[in-house]
């Protein structure tokens, strides 16, 4: 794996241990000549403070709910021009709440773009508020006693849009994410990747543990790595955990994060059941 220059330059405003730094780095390795559309979120800041940008690619900042639509327009302009450049939306789970209709619309049109949701499981840029993907029972500023609502499975929803490529990925498994990007870039049409991005300040763990936390999530089955490109399959790193006996301790994963402080064994057991249900649902897709 080699690349000439990092796509995200050093000295950028991201927090210590920020998963977006890892995600963007992989993006720069996996894709050629990306043109990046960034709606409001942490990456809005990470992209630099005027007049010094931090991303070594054409980057367009856009309003919160608009990114996949703007990307659709850019892609149309490139086609008119005969330009062969990959239009990518780099957004967060917050953008996938407020702008869900926009993602959905672009998927229905099978726009020739890649949408990556770097999912840190809350509205982090505004100071850690609960989002559609926030983990069960997680404490956020709008769910101080722990999240009561369900969480939505973005990637599975996108699968139901019948688009040619959907995958989940993790910043703890960058080679897997990079491979998925490389496969995605060969596909024409709407491609969607949900990238698990543990956030040190938001989840309350030490900045050195970002990669470790992402791996723990996969190993206890809480984050499931899978890919669909005409056929659905679990990714190698997640395959062992189809078997729930092999899954590592969910309690250990959760208790390593301040956002689950005080969580009870009963609550963890409840969540384990929810995770098992999620696996069963996805297993029904296997081989389809």
């Amino acid at each position: 794996m080699e690349y000439s220059e990092p796509i995200l330059l050093p000295g950028n405003p991201s927090c210590q241990g920020c998963p977006h730094g890892l995600g963007l780095k992989a993006l720069g390795i996996g894709l050629d000549n990306p043109v990046i559309v960034i709606p409001a979120g942490c990456s809005t800041i990470i992209a630099g403070i005027h007049p010094k940008a931090t991303i070594n690619a054409p980057v367009l900042h856009v309003p919160f709910a608009s990114a996949p639509a703007v990307a659709s327009g850019i892609a149309a302009a490139f086609r008119r021009e005969g330009k062969d450049r990959q239009v990518v939306v780099w957004m967060g789970d917050g953008g996938a709440d407020i702008g869900f209709a926009t993602i959905s619309g672009a998927a229905v049109r099978n726009e020739d773009i890649i949408v990556i949701v770097s999912d840190n499981e809350a509205y982090m840029n505004t100071g850690i508020q609960s989002s559609g993907t926030t983990f069960w029972k997680a404490k956020t500023t709008t769910s101080p006693a722990g999240k009561k609502e369900e969480r939505k499975d973005l990637a599975a929803i996108m699968l139901m849009h019948r688009i040619p490529y959907v995958a989940t990925a993790s910043v703890g498994y960058l080679p897997d994410f990079i491979d998925k990007l490389k496969r995605a870039k060969e596909v024409k049409g709407f491609r969607f990747i949900q990238l698990h991005s543990p956030c040190p300040p938001g989840w309350r763990f030490d900045s050195s543990k970002t990669v470790e936390m992402a791996r723990m999530a996969v190993k206890c089955g809480a984050w499931i790595l899978w890919e669909y490109d005409g056929e659905f399959r679990f990714s190698p790193a997640s395959k062992p955990y189809k078997n729930k006996e092999k899954r590592k301790s969910l309690a250990e994963y959760m208790r390593a994060q301040g956002r689950f402080k005080g969580i009870s064994d009963e609550e963890i057991a409840e969540i384990e059941k929810a995770i098992e249900r999620q696996w069963k649902f996805l297993e029904a897709m296997e081989g389809l």
């Binding site: 800041i45 690619a57 980057v59 302009a77 008119r80």
Partner: protein, 372 residues
């Protein structure tokens, strides 16, 4: 070529003749036919462009913002609630200094639900930095759309032309459609301040506040200067087609002692009422606004100098007055301001005649048809 078309059809043809390359629009009565006509033209190959079937108005303006900032001539259209749904993008596009054209088929805002015309929706855009025009008839709707591409690209600001719901959008009128060659002569190749997508730069980073202030100031000044750009475009258009589309039209205004100021389709009816009163010896004329932004305050002041002014608004700034009335007062000092035709309530030739007569006789009061 002279033919008969509705406003919606005429706008679609103008978009085609302007060699628009990317169109994205979401249907809303009474704009829907523009969308359908353009989709038809693209599918049949009559128009060589991309048509993006967006899922909302917010995405419609977002999509054409994307194609426009990436260098392509782009168009969208909407009305009323659709405009309000894309309102965030309205400001974003102007602040980003990206030229594009949008048609607003003016329609009132609910509740109650109402698909008929007033000018409230168009005027919600007036502070954002867009160049805002309003058509009186189908010909103007057509002409303004074509000029809009040129004017917006000249000053790097988005352009909108309004057209009254049903009265213009769905009403057939005689239109003179110039040849493609003529339009090509008038519309140079697209230009814009910056093109996104080739060079590795970032547009719109967060940064020190002074950059925002500086850019807004520049936009403010540019919009003022757009007056001369509009006049030049109109003159050149007149040379090619015989029709001008300047900042405003003066109808029997020279020797008038009484002046009515208004904009939109109902200006046609107002002109007839003006003619009737002239027959009766009343020295009355009409200043029909074509441009709300830039509002040519000084020129309007000169045209209305010394006259008794009545501004008829088909809109209302709640608690304050008619939007045009408030602005014209700023130019000429005192004037009478009437708000009429809200929600599409019909105000025809006879109503205008009584209104103007009452104004001239100093007896104008609120009544079921309008209020002061």
């Amino acid at each position: 070529m002279r033919t008969i078309m509705t406003g919606n059809q005429a706008v679609a043809h103008a978009v085609k003749l302007s060699r628009t390359e990317v169109i994205a629009a979401y249907p809303i009565t009474p704009q829907t036919v523009i969308v359908e006509k353009l989709a038809e033209m693209v599918d049949s190959g009559e128009l060589d462009a991309e048509f993006i079937r967006v899922e909302s108005e917010h995405s419609a303006l977002a999509a054409v913002y994307g194609s426009a900032v990436a260098g392509k001539r782009s168009f969208t259209a909407t009305s009323s609630h659709g405009l309000l749904y894309m309102y965030e993008m309205v400001w974003w596009v102007a602040n980003a200094r990206v030229p594009l054209v949008m048609t607003i088929v003016t329609r009132t805002i609910g509740p109650p639900w109402n698909i008929h015309t007033d000018h409230t929706d168009l005027l919600t855009m007036r502070d954002a930095g867009w160049i805002i025009a309003m058509a009186e008839n189908v010909q103007e709707a057509f002409d303004l759309t074509i000029q809009g591409f040129r004017i917006s690209e000249e000053v790097s600001l988005p352009f909108t032309a309004g057209m009254d719901a049903f009265q213009l959008s769905h009403t057939s009128e005689v239109v003179d459609i110039p040849a493609q060659q003529t339009v090509d002569e008038f519309l140079p190749e697209r230009k814009q301040s910056y093109v996104f997508g080739d060079e590795a730069f970032t547009v719109g980073c967060i940064g020190p506040n002074a950059y925002t202030a500086k850019l807004r100031k520049e936009t403010f000044e540019t919009l003022r200067e757009a007056e001369s750009v509009i006049e030049k475009a109109s003159r050149e258009y007149e040379e090619l087609t015989g029709r001008e589309c300047g900042l405003f039209e003066e109808y029997r205004l020279d020797d008038a002692e009484y002046a009515v100021v208004m904009m939109g389709a109902w200006s046609g009816d107002a002109k007839e009422a003006i003619d009737m009163l002239r027959e009766e010896g009343v020295p009355i004329g009409l200043l029909k606004l074509r441009y709300v932004r830039p509002m040519p305050y000084r020129k309007i002041q000169r045209a209305l100098d010394g006259k008794n002014v009545l501004v008829v608004d088909r809109d209302c700034s709640m608690g304050a007055g008619g939007v045009l009335g408030i602005e014209i007062k700023a130019s000429v000092g005192d004037c009478t301001n009437v708000i009429a035709g809200i929600g599409g309530v019909d105000v025809g030739v006879e109503e205008f005649r009584s209104m103007f007569r009452a104004f001239v006789d100093n007896k104008l009061v609120s009544c079921p048809n309008w209020w002061l």
